[in-house]
Each structure stands twice: as C-alpha cells, then as structure tokens.
Symmetry: C2
Subunit: 226 residues, 2 copies
DNA sequence: AACAGCCCATGCGGATCCTGCTGGTGGAGG
DNA sequence: CCTCCACCAGCAGGATCCGCATGGGCTGTT
C-alpha cells in the first residue's frame, strides 16, 4: 500500500514510518501541511495518515476538506493529541475516515490503516467513462451525449471504449487494431477509418464541439477541447 | 442509510437505535448473534453496528468473518466494552472497519457511522452476480461456472441475468416475457421453455448439481440447492 | 499549379449469428 | 391410466453487422 504520512513531530514520524514500512507498505512523508496537501493532491495514495495539528496554517482538517472538495476520496486517518470527543467528531465530519488519539499502540494504528486500505475504493471497477458531455456506461452498454441516448454497434462500442479509456491521449491505428480488432497485422484496408467515421457521425453530428479528433500521421484522440 | 444493529444490552440498543433514527437512518435490530448474522446475510444494509460480545456462541467477530467469507463487504463498526489494544486489533483484523469502546459519546458513534457510510461501496453498482460456483460478470458480459468460461447468447444472457438477480425466488413466465423479451402479451409459444432449455445445457451439463430449477405451474428459479 | 499522401464518407455484399416456431417425447401429478 | 406440462432437437427465416472498395476532399510538397 502507498501511504502518505504528514506529521511534524520528527520522533513520531520516524516511528510510524518505520513500522509501516516493516509491514510492507510504501511511505512518503511530509513535515508540514502545505507540502502534505501538495503531495496528496498531485500523487495517488491509497491512504493518508495526517496529524490533526500541523504548523504553518494548513492543518489536517484543512487538507481533508481541500481534497474532498476536489473529489479526492482517498481514505484519511487522523492522528492527534487532541482527545476530546468534539475534536474527533470534527475530524470525522470534515471527511476523515478514522481518528486515533495519541499516544497510541502501533499495532492498532497498523490495524486501522489496513482496515482503511481494505476498502474497495482503489479496486472498484470503472463502470462509466465520461468525456465532456459524452458518457459511456459499461454496465448497460449504453452511450449518451448531452443526455440523449445514442445507439452504437458492438464494434463501435469497443472502439469508443478504447478511445475514452485513453481520453486526451493519441491512440495509434496499430493500437486500435490490436485492442479493438485483435488483429496482429495490418489488414491493408481502411477499416478503422470507416468505423471512426461512423462513430463521428453518431457522436458529433448536431454538436458544435467535436470530440473525436484526427491526429494526422499518428492516429485519433478523444478530448473535450482542442 | 439502512443500518443493522446487533446488541444484546437492551438499554444500549434502545439508546443507539433512537439516536441513529433521529439522525435520519433506518435501523433494524437483532438481540443476538444468530439473528444478526441471518439478517446481515439475507438483507442488504449500508452498515452493521455489532457488539463485540454477544450471547449464544455467535459473537461480533464471528459474524464479520462469516460475512467476509461470503464476499459480503458491508462496512462494520464494532462496539465493545473490551478496551484492550489486542481486542481492537483483533476486531479490525477480522474484517471490521472501526472499533469503538464503551462507554462512548453518541456524537462520536454517529460521526463514525457516517464516515463509514460515506464509502462508495454502498452505492457501487453490482458488476458481478454469483450463485454457487456460477458467476456472471456484467462488465465483460461473461459467464463462468467453476472457473470455466461459458459462451452465452445475448438473449440467454438477459435471461440468466434476470434469473440471477432473483436467485432463490421463483420467476414467472410472465415476468420473463416482460423483462427479458419486452413482450407485454402472451406469444402463445414456448419461447421461454426453449431458451431455458438452452441455458440449462450450457450451464448444467457436466455438473451434478443443477442450478436452474423448474417450478411446475409457476416458473423457474435459480438456486444452489433444492 | 500539379501531385502525392492521408483521411473521409457512402453503398453494397456477404456471412455469421441469432432467434423463434414446430412437433414429437418424456415425466409428473391426479 | 390419462392428461397436462415441460423439455429438446432441428429448421429456416431474418436481421444485424461488418469489412471492402470506391470516389472525393484536404494538406503539404515539389
């Protein structure tokens, strides 16, 4: 598990970090709220262990609130010397997932960390892909744009799914042949062009902002703008 | 939120139930482990609040272990008078998600409950249906029995999905015509029989325990035994 | 200006796949 | 024993779907 520890007390930090690493986890560490928030927002962690009180204006609660506002739902465990019920309630209400009072037994911290890591959040399968106002529902095998249902053929669906899973990235023809057609050679025809064309007509016709873009000499890309 | 409370102490149970209800949740209650396990296994809850110690052999930890074994991942909060670190660690390791020691402040219990309820798990859509060793994956549109992949036609897939969504319940022909065929009248033919027959051949051939059962003059039912 | 390379759209043909009906058989229940 | 219900195999119609080829447009180069 990849864990971010934000703790200013050097002694505690070293103790916790060492223990978590010995349990087989990867630990990144920040010594103040600002750095912690930056790391948490810019990289992907499975769990955040935050000191409730931190020097320099940005404390644990502030970090959580900011992250939650950004739709970042990484589980958070608070660590704090503040033992009052009100404090605990406040930490949990702000979006924390657990609250452990110092001093604590490391075994309990570890158990609670692993309980949080057990959550399906990280392994929950994606069931809907979204690019701008275009949505693809893997479960109902349904495509909608701006709320309007669009009928799509199986092969077109696979093509669109692959494009959307790589939204914002160029997808080469070779990749499409491999992943959508299971061709491991060049069919020497314009199959791809044809299907992209059909998709375009279904998705982009009647909308001013096209989503499927051609990247000359490279492939295709799906993206909201550009 | 739909919460199951398993607690033998009448006083505590009433207190907790009342508080949770006032916070806007629906609360079912069981007074012993056996009933609690049965309820938790047979109905869908968003959260289980379990007393760690329960009379009658089936205690909280046992409940969790059993549920987890059945792939039931409903969040669990333990409530207990046992305050030792070892007890807490044991509860969490068994698959619990939080552990609160009695006596506790109700505000904290509520905050912890709601923290657990915030998880995406409760609203995560079902992507796999399972009956005995038969599995149906809605995402990949794949059927497997005992690990072996089984090819299924679209209509057969819809039929099987509908049966599995009502596993253990009789599904009438009328219901099937409505939900699987979108027929709102009686076609006067044995379409259903034919498709059920085909499904049977694919699913049950080569296995000693059939899963699809005929209920004479009623309909069909999919179930592990009986 | 002409050409080459790349990309786009449409129509068509074929093939597979799928589905629903028929009709005869088996078995359960009365 | 009889009747009704359910099962299964085969069949054929149909529809969907897919890929190819063609002709046209655009871009950038010579």
């Amino acid at each position: 598990m990849r864990i971010l520890l934000v703790e200013d007390d050097v002694e505690v930090a070293r103790f916790v970090k060492k223990g978590l690493q010995e349990a087989g986890h990867t630990v990144e560490q920040a010594g103040n709220g600002r750095d912690g928030l930056f790391l948490a927002a810019s990289e992907a962690f499975d769990l955040l262990v935050l000191d409730r009180m931190l020097p320099g204006g940005v404390d644990g609660v502030r970090i959580v609130e900011t992250l939650r506002q950004q739709d970042n739902r990484t589980p958070v465990l608070f660590l704090s010397a503040l033992s009052g019920v009100d404090e605990r309630v406040r930490g949990l209400k702000a979006g924390g997932d657990d609250y452990l009072v110092k001093p604590f037994a490391f075994a309990e911290l570890l158990a609670r960390c692993e309980a949080l890591g057990r959550r399906p959040s990280s392994e929950a399968p994606v069931t809907r892909l979204k690019v701008a106002d275009l949505e693809l529902d893997l479960l109902s095998r349904t495509v909608t744009r701006a709320g309007r249902k669009i009928d799509v053929q199986p092969r077109e669906f696979r093509l669109l799914e692959h494009l959307m899973r790589h939204a914002g990235q160029v997808v080469t023809r070779t990749m499409l042949l491999e992943k959508v057609w299971d061709y491991h050679f060049d069919p020497q025809t314009n199959v791809i062009d044809v299907h992209v064309s059909r998709l375009r007509q279904k998705l982009d016709r009647g909308f001013d902002k096209p989503l499927i873009h051609t990247v000359r000499n490279a492939g295709y890309m799906i993206r909201a703008e550009g």
